[in-house]
């Protein structure tokens, strides 16, 4: 029973005072990070800590013939040398859908080599330096076999059809053949890497059959489950601690091989073990974004109205793992088309299994369709913005359902206005400033609203402060801050009086911080928990005989700014602390979750440790997505082919913003990453060795400040209560989607050259 009015307004997208949901509160974890006080996972100082260093394969395909560890074993400080023969046996764990695993052992050190950089052995030593030195003494000999190095390798073949990716309606081929205007383009994206500032690493410590892991993690409960299954211990025996994460971008959601090695070594040694990846290892220890190839063909009438889209996609995966980067996901929903066909294959190559990287699927998918529609616009001679409006999808063309909210038209309008799109001259090469060719490009982006459930505890403490606990995490996206705002607003205290504790799997549980779902999930859970804590507080104040409000005969009270009083302002006015003291309570505690009411313990476990319970974005009557439109100006030096982004205006619909300041930062971060993707980022494979050679941040280029102009972001969202409890949609992944095609489209406008292979490096333009 709620005996007070919920305080949370569902007004415009950026309502609220600073302390409330919708306020522009600065990151509460900011000072700790700026001053270095924030202690990251592997910075824990533990007694008896030992250091592990991994030895990796130097071939891409073949078998380990032998490993000579004699010199390494004899090296000073070495405690253990782990090889496939000496490491303890682990069990295979279930995947992230919770699929029951095959009943077979799992060995994180490989005998069969399927990519260069695979872990084959590990050294554990008293010091890091001793471990590094001993690792260099391990001699591995191989029987090498030919590797399939990448998608363009002749041996790669056409790959495996992924039937689940097939989407078809109407007669796409027939309508294409009959269309008066036809365009066809092949669009490629290379291997890209998350390149988080904090490399992956962990400290593992066993106490009996209880394991504690300090590890940067986007998903404590999911990773705890994997560790538990590897070692055959109950889930409750594994504790993951991850207070801060120095960037994840999808790469820190799963327990990985190096973690298994560290935890196994700690168990075998009876001492805590720390393993931290080197920067080069972050290119092979887990997967970045898979390289992709797409062909997009569009048939249209002479007014640019699309009749048919035929889309074919391919992404690479590893020899023994399966990663599908869904390439038809934006293609099928961005524009209204009566006829559609999309199919996808996956090709096995000798690389580490690719993984999630900011907007997996949507990102490369948008590069295809948003480049292709731009090509169509020139083909029919219609402005690139106008052609998008002419083909605007009024409902989800694939699911045939209404959009929950789609402020894309508003995004186009707001972005175009701010950018000055009307002043664009249509001809390529028609805008110039000295040696610089100027180009203006537009592209749209989208990301589905992924929904799941979360759980939180809210405590009102004796001093009147509020404590929130959740095993969700903050990797910079602002969870600490928005949960403080949610609890502050709901209970009625200043945000300064709220302490949010995250990143410990002992706290109430949360699903993955991935797919841009966490904010929507956790604000909902904290809102529920805080609401019930407030109910209890008011209930006590009204009904406890010791309460000064007892005689008031009120049926509700108001809590604001940490004080409690009657709605009419008569009667007592107490601080929360005074009230709790008067009734002899040292705290009030409430747990809240957003799980369906009849959920069992098994349902809950499954929800927090797998992604199987994610609610489809097209569940029920609506199709739920975030939307955006990017307007980008580039300057291309005609002699040198160098592309500089000189202006960005993006208008975005993420629904209601829990904290506009933080949402804007995330959008800008996504746009910056998109600029890197468009112009710089590419894992370059030596095709003789199947090895990424630019595996460091000196050679794998991400943007610097000098590459980034002022970025103007505009929120056009409205609260979407079909998408989340408080009306927000996804923020984190949305903004990268569409940036690369907007830049490629701008480059075409500047130069008349259509670049369909990312990144757009200078040699492609000179």
């Amino acid at each position: 029973m709620t005996i007070h009015d919920p305080r949370t307004r569902h007004g415009d997208a950026s309502d609220g005072a600073m302390d409330q949901v919708g306020g522009r509160l600065s990151r509460v974890d900011g000072p700790a990070k700026m001053t270095g006080a924030a202690k990251y996972a592997v910075e824990q100082q533990l007694d008896g800590l030992t250091y592990g260093v991994l030895v990796e394969s130097t071939i891409a395909s073949g078998k380990v013939r032998s490993i000579d560890i004699s010199a390494a074993e004899a090296a000073p400080g070495v405690l253990k040398v782990l090889t496939p023969d000496t490491i303890m046996s682990l069990r295979t764990a279930s995947d992230w859908f919770g699929t029951p695993p095959p009943d077979k052992p799992y060995c994180p050190l490989a005998r069969d080599i399927t990519f260069s950089g695979q872990h084959v052995a590990a050294i554990i030593a008293e010091t890091f330096e001793q471990a590094v030195a001993a690792a260099a003494m391990v001699k591995v000999s191989y029987d090498e076999t030919p590797a399939i190095t990448d998608l363009s390798d002749g041996k790669a073949g056409d790959g495996i059809p992924i039937d689940a990716m097939t989407k078809e309606w109407g007669d796409a081929q027939g309508a294409f053949a009959a269309a008066p205007v036809r365009i066809c383009g092949a669009y490629n994206t290379p291997r890209e890497y998350q390149a988080p500032m904090e490399p992956h690493g962990l400290i593992a410590r066993w106490e009996g059959d209880k394991l504690t892991v300090w590890e940067p993690s986007q998903w404590l409960d999911g990773m705890a489950r994997t560790y538990a299954e590897w070692f055959g211990v109950p889930f409750e025996n594994v504790r993951l601690v991850s207070p801060y994460i120095g960037g994840g971008f999808g790469s820190k959601a799963l327990a990985l091989g190096h973690g298994a090695v560290a935890a196994a070594a700690a168990k075998m040694l009876g001492r805590p073990v720390r393993v931290v990846m080197t920067r080069p290892q972050t290119f092979t220890g887990y997967g970045g974004r898979a390289a992709t190839r797409q062909t997009v063909t569009i048939g249209a009438d002479t007014n640019g109205i699309i009749q048919s889209i035929v889309h074919r996609g391919v992404n690479e995966t590893s020899i023994d793992g399966m990663w599908v980067e869904p390439l038809g996901v934006v293609t099928s929903i961005m524009y209204a088309t009566p006829n559609f066909s999309s199919k996808q294959n996956v090709v096995r190559v000798n690389s580490v299994v690719p993984g999630a990287m900011r907007a997996p699927g949507e990102n490369p998918s948008a590069f295809g369709i948003e480049s292709a529609i731009d090509e169509l616009s020139y083909e029919v001679g219609i402005d690139p913005l106008e052609i998008r409006l002419r083909n605007y999808a009024e409902q989800d063309p694939e699911a045939k359902k209404a959009w929950s909210t789609r402020q894309l038209r508003e995004a186009f309008a707001a972005g175009a206005e701010r950018f000055g799109w009307a002043r664009r001259t249509p001809e390529p090469r028609s805008m110039r400033d000295g040696n610089q060719l100027i180009g203006w490009g537009v592209a749209a982006g989208t990301y589905p609203v992924r929904r799941a459930y979360g759980e939180a505890v809210v405590r009102i403490l004796a001093d009147g402060s509020v404590e929130v606990e959740s095993s969700s995490i903050d990797m910079g996206q602002g969870t600490y801050t928005i949960l403080a705002q949610t609890a502050a607003e709901t209970v009625g205290v200043p945000a300064d009086d709220v302490v949010v504790k995250l990143g410990d799997s002992r706290f109430p549980r949360a699903g993955v911080a991935g797919g841009s779902r966490l904010a929507g999930v956790m604000t909902g859970a904290v809102y529920k928990a805080a609401t019930s804590a407030l109910d209890q507080l008011i209930g006590l104040a009204i009904s406890d005989p010791r309460s000064p409000f007892h005689t008031l005969q009120a049926n509700t009270l108001v809590v604001a700014n940490g004080r409690i009083g009657s709605p009419r302002g008569d009667g007592p006015d107490l601080s929360i602390a005074e009230l709790l003291a008067s009734v002899g309570r040292d705290h009030i505690e409430a747990t809240g979750d957003t799980m369906p009411a009849n959920s069992t313990a098994e349902d809950r476990y499954k929800n927090y440790t797998t992604i199987a319970t994610s609610v489809p974005h097209t569940e029920g009557d609506y199709s739920r997505h975030s939307w955006c439109a990017h307007f980008i100006e580039v300057r291309v030096d005609e002699d040198f082919g160098t592309v500089r982004v000189s202006r960005v205006v993006s208008a975005l619909d993420s629904g209601r913003l829990y904290n506009p300041k933080l949402a804007e930062s995330q959008w800008k971060g996504g746009i910056i990453m998109g600029i890197g993707q468009a112009l710089l980022e590419e894992g370059i494979v030596d095709r003789r060795h199947g090895r990424i050679v630019n595996n460091n941040l000196g050679d794998y280029l991400v943007p610097t400040n000098a590459d980034i102009p002022d970025i103007d972001v505009i929120s056009v969202g409205i609260p979407d209560l079909h998408s989340s409890v408080l009306g927000g949609k996804g923020v984190g992944e949305l903004a990268i989607v569409g940036v690369a095609p907007a830049i490629a489209n701008a480059v075409f406008h500047a130069t008349g050259k259509r670049i369909r292979d990312l990144p757009i490096t200078l040699e492609k333009l000179i």
Binding site: S116, A136, H689, G698, D699, T704, L762, I766
Partner: protein, 327 residues
Amino acid sequence: MRDFSYVRADTLDAARQASALPGAMLLAGGTTLVDLAKCGVAEPDSLVDITHLKGLDAIKVDGNGAMIGALAKMSHVADHADIKSRFPAVSEALWQAASAQLRNMATIGGNLMQRTRCPYFRDPANFPACNKRSPGSGCSAIGGVTRGHAVLGTSDACIATYPGDLATALVAFDAVVHLGERQIAVDDFFLMPGATPDREHAIEPGEMITAISIPASASARRSTYLKIRDRQSYEFAAASAAVGIDFEDDGRTIRDLRVALGGVATKPWRAHAVEAALKGKVLDEDSVRAASLLAVEGAVDHGANHYKIELAPRVVARAILKTGAMA
């Protein structure tokens, strides 16, 4: 653990003596050396720290030219008022090199001595073949990923690019490397790879760079360093050019021209042919563009670095035109 000793040199002579021992290496800012030690390329037995030597960080500029101590920091030289006014190309080359943090650490001596960024050179565990690292072992780069490799001055043994910016500007203006008493022109200090790419400099064990001098010239005073790369900052050059011009009194006829290329050759590359073609001519765009093509005479590509042959002359031409237009 790989042990090595660390010596802090108090005098120049002590430094020279200590560094003459087998396995000894000089340590200045460490921004190259520590990196190379981490990736297993440099395996010193002893490090001789020269950063505490007195007086080697001085920068003196007078009518005859500049004398820059080997321990002067990149950032100090870049920001020095007289260097900026009399040798703008030198200051600009430094400003566009590396990052602010690195420039604050790194020294001029160490900068000249920086090693190639060839990725095969820097990954001995995976690519044992590298003639520069282990003479006679072969070259992993040829036939591999060559986008950053040189098109000028290469040999069958090595195609690695000399990556530095400063030395490109120095070679344009006839700078001299001081190894104590011994002096050697920058152009002669850097060696072509030939059959011995492991030998990069005309410096002997026990010798140390003490200073660099740059003679004053009108062309150095009117000079530019133009660096082209995909990333706007913090990247080595895809191609760069240091250019200086001195005009006759008519302000149009080229009396003296200096052109050097970076990022495309195995050593800092003086483009004498371009200079000769334009000296005595009136500066105009067509003749500059035509003459700039001479900068890559004899260039050989290895596939992915072909673009450098197109790019370098354009960079040279733009740099000449830009310098010529300067007030």
